[in-house]
Every structure is written in structure tokens, then in C-alpha cells.
Amino acid sequence: MTARPPSGPPRLVRRLLEWALPGARGGAAIMGDLDQEYREMAATRPRTARWWYSWEAVKLAGHFLFERIKSPNSFREASGQRKSSNLGGLERFWRTTRLGLRSLLRRPGFLTVTILTMAVGIGANVAIFSVLKTVLLDPLPYQDPSRLLAIFEWKPPREERTNVANPGNVLAWREGAESFASISAVSLQMPATVSSRGSVEEAMVQYAHPDFFHTLGIQAARGRTFLVNEQDLVEGEVVLSHRYWTERFRGNPDAIGSTIEVNGGLAEVVGVLPPIYIAFGEGTALWYSIDVFQGDQTNSGRWLWPVGRLTEQATVEQATDELDAIASGLQSQFPDFNGGWTVNPVPLRNHVVGDVQKVLWLLMGAVGLLLLIASVNVANLFLIRATERQKEMAVRTSLGASRSSLAGQLLIESLSIAGLGAILGVILAHAGTRAMAVRLPASFSLPRVESAGVDGMVLLVAVGGTLITGLAFGLVPALQGAKTDPSSVLNSETRGPSRRTGRVRNGLVVAEVAVSLVLLSGAGLLGRSLSKLLSVDPGIEPDQVLVGRVNLSGSAYEEDAAKVVFFQGLVEQLQARPEIITAGGVTFLPMDGLGAATTFYPLDRPPPPPDERLAADIRNVVGDYFGAMGIRLLQGRGFDERDWPEGMRTAVVNRTLAEKHWPTETALGKPLLISWETEEPWEIVGVVEDVRMGGLAEDPREVIYLSYPRTPYFSFLQITARARGNPSNLASILRDEVRGRDPGLPLGSVRVMRELVSASSAAPRMTAFLMLLFASAATVLAVVGLYGTLAYAVSRRVREIGLRMAIGAPPGAILRMVVRQGSTLALTGILAGGLLTLAGGRVMASLLFRIEPADPVAIGGAATLLFAVALLASAVPAWRAARVTPVDSLRED
């Protein structure tokens, strides 16, 4: 014997072929031939050979399976099996299966429509539910996650209920609240200059108290998280995000233990987090351990995300009461800073899934309805088919076929359809889940969606459900057939459908149309809401604008003056470039998620008590920021050299602020007191147009702009440049200019402003798109159902129609008769669906923007569209009916 070849043909495929080929010796010879050809090819091209083999084997298997179904006898003879009338159990089963499959193949239209309907229903449901389960239902990947609370500060009546907290306040909770085993905190994300292995780049950093990860209950994927030491805190340790570790350090295990530089300070990398980490820091590259509670805590602003772990015994209510008590103490202790501020503890899970929850449940509802329609459609198709075959069954019964074998065949047929539908559905579900895992994160902040895979349990339920449906609808006609006396069917003169099944079918079609209208209206509402959202004036002109962040770190920029000199110089240089129309800088961009805010009040009237003072966003700007961003000046002036000198305290406010506090007079020249370092007033010198800071859907907030040269509290600015042409071309110019002034400074997070504006409407766009997708699928299914029912009704009435024609009915009358039947069904469904939509519209209210759930345009539009499609669907069978001739009706017998 020679040695075995390195690798044989693919075993699974070979097994399949073995099973498909005719038995006895013939199959073995064919296998041998293919194997031999494979070996010859594999000698030179082993990889190609495997593919070739699989392809040829699948073709062969398909051929022989088809042959076997088509003419089973020839194969039995060819393969030398004995032909016997005394069939064994297994043999009889195969015979029944073959009969079933053959009768299915004779009606490819029915087969295709049914299988596709089932596949769409299963696929969409399993995919959406798998995502929903991963994102919403699976517990967070932390130890005992149900005991974790995110604790926010909130100043009613502000809409922002999840404000970051002040370190001093967090420290007070941490020391006073006994419901918690521990309370820790992590800072807002901040840009930092990170140097490692000789290269410098900008990365998002969060400063974490050393026991932060311990409180969350998360283990490092590699190395460890921060050391928790009661006596003295270990600062200056760094934990990397999994992504930063794989991208920047190429997943090198040696990264752990290495030293890197963060904003000029040395730090040791001690560990890497697991890939799935959720809490307050999407896109954070690394966490740096510091004692966030040290130093003077009063009045140092709010910049911490606190998280607490409840003790075993404590409830959320107890914890809330305890925190409230501490917070009211803090209010009276520091009335200026804490006046009106309350605590808002939220289970961490709720905070993490946030608004996405509603969208996912809505989509789940939509695909649930889709599955309903799909099932109804399949039931309808089966019913039609069963009635159609009543005569066939009767003939076969009277010829001596046993009722059990007929029932068996029907069962096999319906199970095969359900099985094929399920297989295709599983494939669709898999593809859908993958597609969503890849595509959705761009639109929604869906925690963990990347890890979503088809859920085994969900799949089992969906496929099991379909098989049961198949069984049920296979059985009903089988049982019915077994009961019917063949002679009554054969003798029946009129071939019209029985009144009872006809009514059931009509009812099913009406239900389908109704449910489709609900989905279509939903899609219409979301679409209208989206168009309203997109027509909102963002208050800026984002086209042609490029932004990029510069973070001044290191000893050279410790002095405020150095920061001002750098940024002013950079902006002036950019303005001098011919490619740039104008340039400026701002601390926080609109629609970028981050911002700074503080309380203020107008000084030209008596000061309100501290807890009634309102908060405004603060933006510090340099250069021609208003011009570069395209923010229109309404009154007064923007900032210029006049605002630079020491002692100048000028401010520009937005329209909302001006109109709210000085509705009848100009805001120019009015003094403002801002809780921001010193308690001296600022004079308003200009009013600008509102900008949608928090995204298109959010109402404009009150905003105060201050001149950066007078308020250089932040060491980073978002440089904003308006290009003469394509803004993307500015990236290299911007980078060069920054390097030209300081080669050690990276330019971070370079983006086209248009992207930020688009991103703020990405979630509603994706929701509307998915809803439209499901609604379209539902409509197609409903229309198929309507068409099927009408076409069937027409085919059953050929005789009657022919007679009518014979006695002089014009084709037009016949046409109208069928269309009337179709439109009656459609209208009934639309009416029912309209009522359902009005009743159930409230669930969508929170997802709609400036539109009522009962919006007549959306619902009316959906109804009109559905009716039009339904008319089209009736027109085809109607036209066929109108062409029936009296001769056709004779031919029917």
C-alpha cells in the first residue's frame, strides 16, 4: 500500500454525496470516479481540488436526489433493490415522503412563496431578538451587576437628569451612605497626549479612582486592574482598553509592565480590560489612576461619573433615601454651589441601555407583527391548497388509498415546507444579526451589539414554532380530508369554495392588511418625524468645515499665557492660508456629546436664591469661531482684539438666553454673573443665533460664549476651519501648522463637521429605515395573501363566470366584480388597521419628533398606498377573470 494522500476530499460533502447516490454498487463506482478525479487534481492544486470536489459533489447529489423524487422506480431497479408490494414501515415512510415532495415540486410557485414567507418571518425575528437580547436582556459583564447604581446629580427642572457630579459631593456620599459597599468614580473623557515607544499621539483618557474597577466588579483580561489599598492610594497606574491595546500595541503582552507618558507624566501599564466594557466611556483608550477626591472639593465643578455597589441587604429605595438626605445636607452646606442640586441614582443597566431600549422594543414589536402576517399568510396558502386538493384526495381515497397514508403525505409536505423555511430563516437570521452587529453601532450607541450572535434559544423557539405551525396547518386539511366522504366531494356540482373556509380565508386576509397598515403607518410616522428632524436648522453651516482637537500638554504650557499665545498664533496662521476662508477654536463642539455648563443670573435685577439659578452652557472661543462655524451674529459684535486685555469681561450669548431674560429689550450691555472662578459681572456685547448643541432633536439651550484669551481654563481647543473647497483637504494643512508650532503636539480627532451633524440624526434614520424595511416586507406578504385569495377564488369560479359571460355579462362587469371583492377585503383591513394604529400609536410617541402619533398625513398616506397596492393585486386575477370564455367553463369539467 502506498501512503494515504495528505488530505482526502472534504468529508462532510463526501458523506452527503454517499447518502444521495443510488444504493448498491452503482453509487460506489460513481464515488470512486469522483475520488479518482479529485486525487489527480489534488496532486497539483490541492486547494482548488477541494472546492472543485465540493461543487461537483453538490451538483451530483442534487441531480440524483431530484432523479429519485422524479422517478423512484427506475432507481430502485437500477440499484438492484427488490420491488415489493409488501412495504415495510421505513419503506412506506420514504414512499410517502417522495410522494409529498413530488407533489410539492409540481407547484413551485406555492412552494417558493411559502418558504420565503416563513424564512422572512423567522429571519427577521431571530435577528432582532438576538440583538435585543444581547443588548438589553443579558446581564452586564460585571460581578453581580444588579447591585450597581450609576449616581448622577440633577438640578430640576433641567432636562439633563444625568449630570456628572462634583468630587466633594461624591466624597460625601462615599463616606456617608451605608447602603453602599463602595462608591467610586471616573472622570469625564478628556483628550490627552500619550507617548509610548517614541511616538506621540492624542488619545481619550479617563481618570479613575483606584477602586473604580473594583467597585464595578470587572476583571482585567490581561494583567490586573488598579491596586486597591485602603491605607495609601496607588496613583499613576494605567489600564488599557482592549481596542487601544490591539491597535496601538498590536496586542503585545509585553505592553503590560511598560512605562508610557500621559500628558507629560510617567505611568505604568498594569493591565488590559476585556473587549466588552461598558460604563461612561465609549472610545476611551486608557484609564489613569488618581485620587479623584483629593484637594479642595467645593466649587471645583462637576466632572465625575460616580458608580456605587449596594450592599447585600440594601435596596435601591433605601440607597436613594440615604443619598437624598446627604444631598440636602450638602445643599445647605454649600448653597451657592449645590443650591437646587439633587441626586439621581439609576440602575447601571438602565443607564447603559438608555433610549435604545425603546427603539429595540419597537423594532421587536414590528418584526413580531411581521411574523404574525407571515404565519397568517402561510396558513392561508395551506388552506387554499388543501381546498384545491379536496377532489384529488377524494379520488385517491376512493381508489383505495388509506386515509392514514394521505394524511401522512400532507403532513410530510407541510413539514418539508416548514423545514425548508426554517433552514432559510436560520441563514437569514444569521446574516441579519451579523449585519446589525456591524452596521448598528454607527447609528446607535448599542452596548455590546458587536458581540451579538444568533441566540440558540431564540432560534430553537422560532424554528420550533414554525415546525408546529407547519404541523398544525398540515394536519387540519388532513383531518378534514379524513372526515369527508369522497362521494360528496366528487358529486358536488358546484366547485365554489365552501362558505366556511372561504370566510376563514377572507378573515385572514383582512387581518394581514390590518397589521400591514399598522406597520406602514409606523414607518410613515417615523419617516415624517425624520424629515421634520432633518429640516431643523442646526444653527451652523457645517459644510466646508473641518475640526480637529489640539491638546496642550507638558511643562511648556503650564502658564495660561502660553496656551493663549499658542492658540491665537495657530488661528492667525490658519487664517492667512489661501485654502482657508476663516478659522477659530472652541472648547466643545456642537453635537459632540461633551460640554461645560454652570449657573448664572442677570445682574440687572435682584439675584434669585441659589437654588433657582439657571444653568447655561459655557463655550470659550478664540479667533473667528462664529465665522468659521457659520453661526450668525444677530446683534452687537463677536470677539476681537478689544476683548483680549486684562480686565475685559465681555460675553456673547445666544438668542434663547437673550430672549428669555430680556424679552422686550436688547440684551446688549446687560451684566451677567457667572459662577465661574470669580464673582465679577460679564458684559454682553453680542447675541448670536441658537445652535443645537445636543443634536437636532434637542431644543436650543442657553449658551454663553466667553473669549478664550480671557478664560483659558481648558488646555485643549477644537480648531475649526472653513475651507474654500473640500474640507477634507484641510486636514494635512491643519496638521502641518500644528507641527510647525510644536512638533511634539498631535492633532486629534480630525473630522468634517457635516459628519457630526449627520451622526446626530443617525439613530432616527436607522430606525426609520428598519421600520420601512419591515413594513415593506409586511405589505408584500399581505398583498401576496390578497392576491392568492382572489386568484384562487377566480379559479374556483371559472364555471360561474363562464356562464355569466354566456348569458351576456360584459367583461367589464366581471372585472368589477373581482376588483370589488378585493377592495372590500382591503378596505375592511385598512379600517381595522387604522383603528389599531390610533389605539397603539402612543407607544411610538416618545420616538417621534414634532409629530403626533395620530398624524393624519402618515396614516392616511400609508392607507392610500396600501389600498393602491391592494387594487393592483386584485387587478391581475380580475383581468384573468374577464378573459374567461364560456368555453373555458366547459373545459373545467
Partner: protein
Amino acid sequence: MGSQGFLGEFEQLVLLAVIQEGDSAFALEVRRMIEDRTGRSISRGAFYTTLDRLERKGMATWTQETPKDQRRRAPLRLYRVTPEGLDALRESRRALDSLSRGLDALLERGR
């Protein structure tokens, strides 16, 4: 039907190739010969089905041979055309000839 009727075109091709291959008319070789001589690619499934059909009609028969290639463990079938098969081929040929008579000019021109 008394006689076996006319042979299909593909059946004729298979029978002819079996005769041409003579002592090495194994399925694999027969198929390759048809592909080589006609320049057409032959579906494996259709080919084996046709061999089976010819066998059932009694026009071809086979004997089991021991493979020369030692790696091949599967049986090998050596096909042979039966006298009935040869008759059927002749009959088809005759029919074709008689119908083509006088059309030489037309049929040759296509070459």
C-alpha cells in the same frame, strides 16, 4: 414498444464513446472522451443517469474490474455495448442517413 425506439443524441454519444474506448471503457474515460471529442462539458449526473438507462434498456452492460490505481478502493465498472445497443446505433444511423440524403451540400457547408 416492440423495438427500443430511437436513441437520444446523448445516448448515441455515450454508446459510441464506449465502443471507441474498447478495453478501457471505464466510466471516467468514457466521459472524458466525450468531452474531448465534442468539446462540450458533460454533466456528471446526466452522464451516470444515461449509463444507467442504457443498461436498463439492455444496450450496455458492465463487468466489475479491479482498479489498477491502488489508492482506489471503490469498484470500477468496465462498460461494453451489447448487440442490442449496436443494433440501436445502426438503426439510428440509418434513420439519420436516410433523412440526410440529398442534403449533403447543405450539411457539409456548416463545417
